[in-house]
Symmetry: C2
Subunit: 431 residues, 2 copies
């Protein structure tokens, strides 16, 4: 980890630059996959699945019997942990369903808005060295609470063509209605355009590698919305002299082990903390099974000494971290100043892995600085808003002339006439 | 207008197809504009502004004096109508700021989320035959209520290089901080990438022609979010035998006059209403200044006779109209069944132009079927959500083992260790 001491504000943009993502080689590949799935459907999906994942998948849909049988294949302790996590996620996400309040904006003019679920949600859960059942929960629980009538899940097969039972179990307890054995950009394309097997979805959610991310970004041009562009994971920890260096080091490493392109930052106003955290990171790194990955991502990472905790927060808002840990003496008041972050963890016992798995907040979060302008996944991400209005005769009598004047000034006489014709009829009624 | 009688469900997808948008010629032009603004900044912006709008703009920023002086150039009656509309829009959009509620998801585990404004909002207001000051209000009022610190407005110049005083006045009363004389795809590019004059914004909002729309869609690939893809305007009116044919005809025409590619649909269960509305449309069309435009868009439009009002609503949910008018005897209960629509108008006095201008709801709405998966602009569109959590020592004692088990099963030992190291320290404290 690089140590940076009292950086001038002019250097912040350079310090906030993420390890570069170069899509030059990725884009043409993704474009070809999108095009071929669009026209070729299942057979193209089968081709790319074999090419990238290995197995030849005859039926993409995972049979109901296999899903129902998954529980028996998952250790009881893990099942119960998954259910606890699911409950907590549900408790937090249930409160995010927006209510409907009627506002009388003008006498006789009532307006309200209502959130309605998108009909079909498409969830993507990436493959990897281990089954990411936690991502299943983070996407399916809010989709289900939002009320989506179909919740489609795509995830790549293992070498033997199967999907890990823990994934199937998590899907079965959190409301997923259809599971398909497909991964990568080809799965995103299948959900965006539909194939013989995979239904076309209304919106696509979930993390993935560069190919998945670019596929998600590109299908927006075909009118399919996505949760957010997602990139390598990152954490920023702020601490004063009250921080516990070994806790902080563990948090930095828990993020660094994600991938070689992850980035972790530690910011403090206390010089001694820099050395203490650095040496703890080095110690703990030794015992980590994913040591090589973590060591590589630590090369992209920094320990930064600032003039004050306030300046640390200023830098953090500029950096816009996916995860932000406030390991300071008064994190609550500090948290009021946070403008740009995906998820914030307050105090020394709020470790990031709690939010990754089980505290209830969502772990599908904007990375790479996108916390400046994107939200993480919420229940509202699976809904859209419809506005409503009801205007009484008296309401139109009073507001009508205003509308007529505005429509007139925009030279839209048809717009004006829709009011005038009603006002004339109202004055006939009155006379 | 084409009359369609009792269409079978199998024909709905065909009937719901919008007048085609063909981007084949548009995309390369837009791609070139984006690329040249990205590298050329102001000088490229000046080039394209001259090419597409005519005037050579020396300074893109509209001087403060010109903005301040705009009020005096707007008729008093129009100023007062703009202010009334602004008040109503503010009343409705003020209620959309989400609150913050703390949820204890597990003993000792508190989670909450907070909505925070994006820092810099970029608003686009298209040019045209008349100044669209209403769009200024619809975008700037919620941006300002959300708390965006900079609200940038781009709008194309008139032939003489100036911007209409009504636009400037609306901007000045609704919180716009910077106004730039630039339009089209080049203005979208300027806000997405920044130029010497135009600051880079965090999110881009507002309607526009095909070039503007495609530019907005494409800049998403560079990580700049947009409100929604917007296309030609549309309205769907549902009425039973209690509807007033002349009101309905006026509503259909108010939408048809927008552009030749607009589409208007009338659905009813009453055969007599089809003929009555058709003849009223033909009558009223004669007196419309934008008669030619409206007549052309009526060619894309339909009067559809259905078996029941329930079937009308079913079709409407399938079509997902931008605007939906329920001119039936009991619109309130009917509105409960609406799943896909931008904005809904209940009853015979709720004409669409009320929502376009002054009732308080937003007129920046998803078109072309996008109401299935996109929301119209709300105050929340200018904000992002940040989640927070605080876990006590006791909270981690009880939830920690669950997190450890889940992290272990995903083979993320660093994640588990961040918990273990804390649990160990807690048990040392206890012993």
């Amino acid at each position: 980890m690089k140590i940076v001491t009292y950086p001038l504000k002019g250097s912040w943009p350079m310090l906030c630059r993420r390890p570069a993502s170069d899509y030059t080689d990725v884009d043409p590949v993704v474009r070809e996959i999108l095009g071929r799935i669009k026209t070729g459907g299942d057979s193209a999906l089968r081709f790319f699945t074999e090419k990238y994942d290995g197995p030849i998948i005859r039926k993409f849909r995972v049979p109901a019997g296999e899903i129902a049988g998954s529980a028996a294949l998952v250790a009881e302790e893990l099942r119960s942990a998954i259910l606890t996590a699911k409950e907590n996620i549900a408790k937090f996400h249930r409160c995010q369903i927006p209510g409907t309040a009627v506002v009388e904006t003008y006498p006789g003019v009532s307006c309200w808005q209502k959130s309605v679920p998108v009909e079909t949600a498409g969830l993507y859960v990436p493959g990897g060295t281990a089954p990411l059942f936690s991502t299943v929960l983070m996407l399916a629980v809010p989709a289900s609470l939002a009320g989506c009538s179909r919740i489609i899940l795509c995830t790549p097969p293992e070498k033997d063509g199967r999907i890990d039972p823990a994934i199937l179990f998590a899907a079965s307890v959190s409301g997923v209605t259809d599971i398909f054995t497909a991964g990568g950009a080809q799965a995103i394309a299948a959900m965006a355009y539909g194939t013989e097997s995979v239904p076309r979805v209304d919106k696509i959610f979930g993390p993935g590698n560069m190919y998945v991310t670019r596929a998600k970004e590109m299908i927006q041009l075909d009118g399919v919305p996505i949760d957010m562009p997602a990139g390598p994971s990152e954490v920023l920890v702020i601490s004063d002299n009250t921080g516990n260096p070994s806790f902080i080091a563990a948090d930095l490493l828990s993020q660094a082990e994600h991938g070689t392109d992850s980035q972790v930052l530690f910011l403090t106003d206390t010089p001694e903390m820099i050395t203490a955290v650095k040496s703890e990171v080095e110690n703990q790194l030794e015992d980590l099974p994913r040591k090589e990955i973590a060591a590589k991502s630590l090369e992209n990472s920094m320990l930064i000494l600032m003039r004050s905790i306030g300046e640390c927060v200023g830098f953090s808002n500029f950096y816009a971290p996916e995860h932000l840990i406030l390991a300071t003496s008064d994190p609550a008041s500090l948290s009021e100043s946070i403008r740009n972050a995906g998820s914030v963890f307050l105090g020394k016992y709020s470790c990031e892995s709690a939010g990754d798995y089980a505290s209830g907040t969502n772990h599908t979060l904007p990375t790479g600085g996108f916390a400046r302008n994107y939200s993480g996944v919420t229940t509202g991400s699976f809904m859209k808003t419809i506005s409503f209005q009801e205007i009484s005769g008296d309401g139109l009598r009073s507001l009508g002339p205003v509308i007529e004047r505005l429509a007139e000034a925009e030279q839209l006489h048809g717009h004006r006439n829709a009011v005038t014709i009603r006002l004339n009829s109202l004055s006939n009624v009155r006379s």
